[in-house]
């Protein structure tokens, strides 16, 4: 099914990517080209076939319920976590005001 520019703008909005009208026009053709090509998958008979969820059979593990079991992924690393934030302030991530 072909998508139009309104759909392109809707996808961009869902993906939180600002696009200009010129970009939306260019993307309309590109996305239709790719989507038209992947649509050939519709011809495959998948009756009774389970969708793949894990490519190599592997059980999801549970770790022991221990605080800071791994020093790299445990707690008490606030400053490391904020080190690359574009606008850290007062030990928090800063964002533009969201309420008046």
């Amino acid at each position: 099914m072909a998508i139009d520019q309104a759909t392109v703008r809707k996808i961009a909005s869902l993906a939180r990517i600002a696009i200009s009208d010129a970009e939306a026009a260019a993307m309309e053709g590109e996305l239709n080209g790719i989507l038209g090509w992947v649509e050939q998958l519709g011809e495959v008979d998948v009756t009774g076939v389970e969708p793949m969820t894990a490519v190599i059979p592997n059980k999801l593990r549970l770790r022991d319920d221990v605080v800071d079991a791994d020093p790299l992924t445990g707690g008490n690393r606030r400053d490391d976590i904020l080190a690359n934030a574009p606008a850290a302030m007062h030990g928090f991530f800063g964002v533009p005001k969201v309420i008046e």
Partner: protein
Amino acid sequence: MTDLTNLTVAQIRDGHRAGDFSAVEVAEAFNTNVAGAKALNAFIVETPEHALAAARQADADRAAGTLKPLSGVPIGMKDLFATNGVQTTAASHMLEGFVPRYESTVSQKLWDAGAGMLGKLNLDQFAMGSSNETSYFGNVISPWRRKDGGNAALAPGGSSGGSSTAIAARLCPAATGTDTGGSIRQPAAFTGISGIKPTYGRCSRWGIVAFASSLDQAGPMARDVKDCAIMLENMAGFDPKDATSLDLPVPNWEAALSSDLKGKTVGIPKEYRLEGIDPEIDAMWDAGIAMLKDAGAEVVEISLPHTKYALPTYYIIAPAEASSNLARYDGVRYGLRDLPQGAGLQDMYAATRADGFGAEVKRRIMIGTYVLSAGFYDAYYTQAQKVRTLIARDFEQAFASCDVILAPTAPSAAFGLGEKMADPLAMYLNDVFAVPASLAGLPAMSVPAALNRDGLPLGLQIIGKAFDEQGVLNAGLAIEERAGFTARAEKWW
């Protein structure tokens, strides 16, 4: 004295151990080559002091009798691996200036094994591309040139194009790569080197910038099969921090290398004989079949009936996962923030992502967002996951009658920069032979096999059963010994 940068990983390791040269001499020789190769644009960040520090440690360890598996070996690190204190960008504007406060599991294992880092290698942005033309930091140029009198700049392959160029140009003896749909194998083929993508889950994904998590897998790239085995041994291993990490012991692949294939059966997938393909690719493939027969293997034809659906399946699943993974780049926690005057939170997200992502990354996020959106999810994404099951099943059935599969790595030799950028689909088709093994999570490697009429390398691909990296490496070694590939790019940079 021999040029130390012509030595392989094994030769550096053994020569250093024997006292033939110091690790500092090796690091200095490679640092010099790196500094002199700006024209190739293989590195985003150079870290000569890191390589030297590891080398000094290696020399001290030699004196103390405490050598490690990779002592004295400097390597290149694809800039997709988080490195503590060293900028990690995924070749994107989004992560320009991002300096991790932690180390990826794979890179940490390599440093623990004694390796040093020459620098962070350029790549396609977020590993999305097959030519290294989507990097925010400029194209990587292949050291190879066609023997046609011209000097057109050629693609080093992608996404691990900085890795392939750096190894082929003797800027490092080995490097890390990552492979989501061919990103180790195709660049290795384009530049006349070797590279292996192990079974999904062998190498931890922790600390690797995520692209498509059900496909992403790290692996080594190097000049020969033995070096790949050595590197992989020091990259693989169980990691509790990666939920899909395989809890299996790491085999001693190097020690078990054997090119004697007696009793082994090699499958030749008939669906990989593409109509209209360059006859030189088919001729190389036939030569490869003869080499494996010569090594004692029996050769049988096999069928992988869903091969033609692998690429479209990949181009639903990979973008879908990418759109989800890349949602984290929001201008809040790390990376770029673009806050237009008076903008609110939503506008900041949209402006940041418009500014921080390149065209190909946006294209894939958009495709992924669309195929996951309400009303289309089942028609695209669920259908693709079902076809993925069928593709994996094809391999399972084929491996009932063979031990490894032989195929070309790519449908052509390296193409010129700019030749395929106008048409995303033409670029995607470059991974037609590489993507099926990725979708099935299987180990697969590329080894250089021949030069084409233009004097450019062509690679053969070996695909193995899950967990059987040894079988893949052994078949690769059998080809390497018989192909006698010694060609290298003439220095022009």
